[in-house]
């Protein structure tokens, strides 16, 4: 799976020949045994780690993030629930892996959310890794941070000023925003020459039908009747009716929404069973009612990750993770203003916090 040990490192992903095992081992070592410095072995110095509060570079930044979390939740335990991977391709391409995790712990220390509350919280997430020569060279962390805030009893309204002031949260400028251009009626490419149906092409096509073509009736085709979705923000949904309403609600809030699948791979378990992992983006205009206040008219991008269990061409269980807090921050922070000659730089109108539903 991996092309040999990289340099002088004692540990690397793929060392055991089983990438899933090595990822579990890494997470256990770093988070639970607190050998955090091992990230110097696992994370390349120029690795870019995409988080909802901005990109981090290299192991030191990642190690600092781990300690910030560990300090707030000293008894924290992290569990890896599943690892889905894309096999090694070439020395240049390396391989990819996506792992679903959760941690829980008591907030008995100071954290980025404030002083200790003593409360027990749980967070879940999906991390996608791009691995070359046994090292992580790029990572995308989708974390459901709203359950942390909820668990701590902090209202999102009180958190917003903190999010704005938090110097770790770099909210990028949002003054260059284009219309949404998407091949609405054009189907994603399906390899028709392939006799065996391609799991990825089929998933892309059917998600395109539901989300972009707004054919919500096809939800009943893609999802098994008893399908369970573990949604972000701790939203548990089951059955076609609830799954459909999830989609309806999001389409009401972002009426021109488009879904793009940015990466997709899967593990074939045999007997028409697959475990699929995807990274996705949604772009849309905040033009409708919904739990995030507004409408603000902002055109935003939400990035997230999903794991799916597929049996006989239908999704039987699904985990969806994206960061609602980051969405809130981006919907309601003031825009960057470079109009220096107006003399009031940085004082653009502030979003109305009072309309945000906690």
């Amino acid at each position: 799976m991996i092309d040999g040990q990289p340099g002088s490192r004692s540990r690397w992903l793929g060392a055991s020949g089983d990438i899933a095992h090595d990822i579990r081992e890494m997470v256990d070592d770093v988070w639970n045994r607190k050998n955090v410095g091992l990230f110097h072995d696992y994370v390349a110095p120029t690795a870019i780690v995409h988080t909802s509060t901005g990109d981090r570079i290299g192991p030191d930044a990642t190690i600092a993030d781990v300690f910030r979390t560990l300090a707030g939740f000293p008894d924290l335990r992290t569990t890896v629930h599943d690892v889905i991977w894309r096999p090694f391709e070439s020395r240049q391409a390396g391989c990819s892996a996506s792992f679903r995790w959760s941690w829980s712990g008591h907030n008995t220390g100071y954290s980025i959310y404030g002083p200790p509350t003593g409360r027990l919280v749980t967070a879940t997430g999906i991390t996608t890794l791009s691995i070359r020569q046994g090292m992580i060279v790029e990572a995308w962390i989708a974390a459901d941070t709203s359950t942390i805030v909820e668990g701590l009893g902090i209202g999102t309204t009180t958190l917003l000023p903190a999010l704005r002031a938090n110097r770790l949260t770099h909210i990028p400028a949002a003054d260059i925003v284009g219309e949404i251009i998407s091949p609405l009626m054009e189907s994603p490419q399906v390899d028709s020459g392939n006799a065996a149906p391609d799991v990825g092409a089929s998933l892309r096509q059917r998600l395109h039908d539901i989300w972009n073509r707004r054919l919500l009736g096809t939800i009943a085709d893609l999802y098994a009747p008893s399908c369970h979705r573990h949604g972000t923000g701790g939203r548990e949904r089951q059955g076609h009716h609830e799954l459909t309403h999830d989609t309806v609600a999001l389409l009401a809030t972002f009426p021109d929404l488009r879904l793009f699948i940015d990466d997709l791979f899967w593990v074939d378990e045999g007997n028409a069973r697959y475990r699929a992992a995807m990274r996705w983006s949604i772009i849309g205009t905040h033009d409708g009612p919904g739990v995030w206040g507004g409408p603000t008219g902002r055109r935003i991008r939400i990035t997230g990750a999903t794991h799916q269990h597929i049996r006989h061409d239908q999704i039987v269980e699904e985990w969806v993770v994206w960061d609602e807090l980051s969405l809130l921050a981006r919907l309601h922070v003031p825009l960057m203003d470079l109009s220096v000659d107006d003399g009031d730089t940085g004082d653009a109108p502030v979003g109305d916090d009072s309309t945000i539903d906690e």
Binding site: V137, A173, I181
Partner: protein, 384 residues
């Protein structure tokens, strides 16, 4: 219509033109060997150090013996000068008359560059310069060209050009494009995302710009020609493909960028970009999709209505299977006559230098880093 429109004629051809020809890399007819590709070579800086003094991977006439290839030279000489503090190594790695161009003006000779490095170190004592990519072309006879995409981090513990210490952490992107021969860089184009740094420091760009002493040389704004997009009453040039019979990365980019910018054919966006492309734009803007890609171009065109876009240098590494990674050094000239992001129209003529690196897969740009120095642009428009 008496006249046929070359651009419209080109529409059909462009649609079928895909950059999947063997990379010629502007050098020989051979593709860059994979082991000399940044993405395939050493991942960890320790691997570069461990390989120092090893067998040469390519001909490096006149370079110090311990450098094995041009990527190794860029990565380790940067580390030795900046992180290890060997600033005086600039006397070895830059020629006596080296020119460094930026949007603040021109820096001439080694000593000015040494002063620049020391001033950066004073403001950001724990400065780190990470190589995200090194794209290169050329050879040791005609000279190497390198495009070094950098992420810089550092705390503002000291006094800097932005003012007194703020103690804030910063992280920003930077492009250093160098031309070198026999161990020495003789010309460099430096594009730094200073607006991101100013924002991360929590400073007001207006206050910073009022306090900035300016560039090394004041820009000449008293003698200016018009921005020539077309000759006289004619129309913009027609791009002549260098390789009309087969797909070619250079033709793909040059023809589409020329027609997009200088013909104002905004529909070239969908020829250039994949629908879910990611564009890392200046000031930390993360753009996504065809609409955002178009909005970035329109924002510049609207502010500089007579803008002319010029590709100054272009080369690439990679292959069809892994994707091509390009280095495009460009300049944009125009008059600040329109409303937009950069304030009320000032009527000032400007010359912006920028660098873009694309990742091209299946004939479309899937990811891009585009940089020009917005802080310097604002300074030139409103404060110079």
């Amino acid at each position: 219509m008496a006249e046929t429109n070359d651009v419209v004629e080109n529409e059909r051809q462009v649609a079928t033109r895909k950059p999947d020809a063997p990379a010629t890399n502007g050098r020989t007819d051979e593709a860059t060997p994979t082991e000399l590709d940044f993405r395939a070579s050493r991942i960890d800086f320790l691997d570069y150090e461990a390989g120092a003094g090893g067998e040469r991977r390519q001909s490096l006439r006149g370079f110090e013996d311990h450098y094995t290839d041009i990527i190794d030279y860029i990565v380790r000489c940067t580390h030795r000068m900046w992180e290890e503090g060997g600033v005086g190594l600039l006397y070895e790695y830059y020629s006596h008359n080296a020119v460094v161009w930026s949007d603040w003006g021109q820096s001439y000779g080694r000593d000015q560059t040494i002063e620049y490095v020391v001033q950066r170190m004073a403001g950001f004592p724990n400065l780190r310069i990470y190589a995200n990519d090194v794209i290169w072309a050329g050879d040791d006879v005609q000279g190497f060209r390198t495009c070094h995409r950098i992420t810089q981090t550092g705390h503002n513990w000291g006094y800097s050009k932005y003012g007194p210490p703020t103690n804030r952490p910063t992280q920003s992107t930077c492009f250093a494009n160098c031309v070198m021969r026999e161990n020495r860089i003789y010309e460099e184009w430096l594009v730094v995302d200073e607006m991101t740094v100013v924002r991360q420091l929590g400073l007001d760009p207006d206050a910073v710009l009022r306090g900035i002493a300016g560039g090394v040389l004041p820009p000449n704004i008293d003698i200016v020609g018009e921005s020539v997009k077309a000759r006289g009453q004619g129309r913009p040039d027609t791009y002549v493909p260098r390789n009309p019979d087969q797909p070619d990365v250079e033709d793909f980019l040059r023809s589409n960028l020329h027609e997009l910018w200088n013909w104002r054919m905004l529909n070239r966006i969908s020829d250039l970009y994949a629908p879910n492309c990611v564009i890392h734009a200046p000031s930390g803007r993360e753009l996504y999709g065809l609409g955002d890609a178009k909005a970035l171009v329109v924002a510049l065109m609207a502010s500089f209505p007579d803008a002319r876009f010029e590709v100054d240098d272009l080369y690439w590494n990679g292959d069809e299977r892994m994707g091509y990674r390009t280095a495009v050094r460009w300049s944009l000239t125009g008059t600040h006559r329109g409303v937009g992001i950069w304030g009320k129209p000032t009527g000032r003529p400007v010359h912006i230098i920028g660098t873009t690196s694309h990742i091209i897969r299946d004939g479309k740009i899937v990811e891009e880093w585009t940089l020009f120095n917005e802080l310097a642009l604002l300074w030139k428009l409103h404060y110079a």
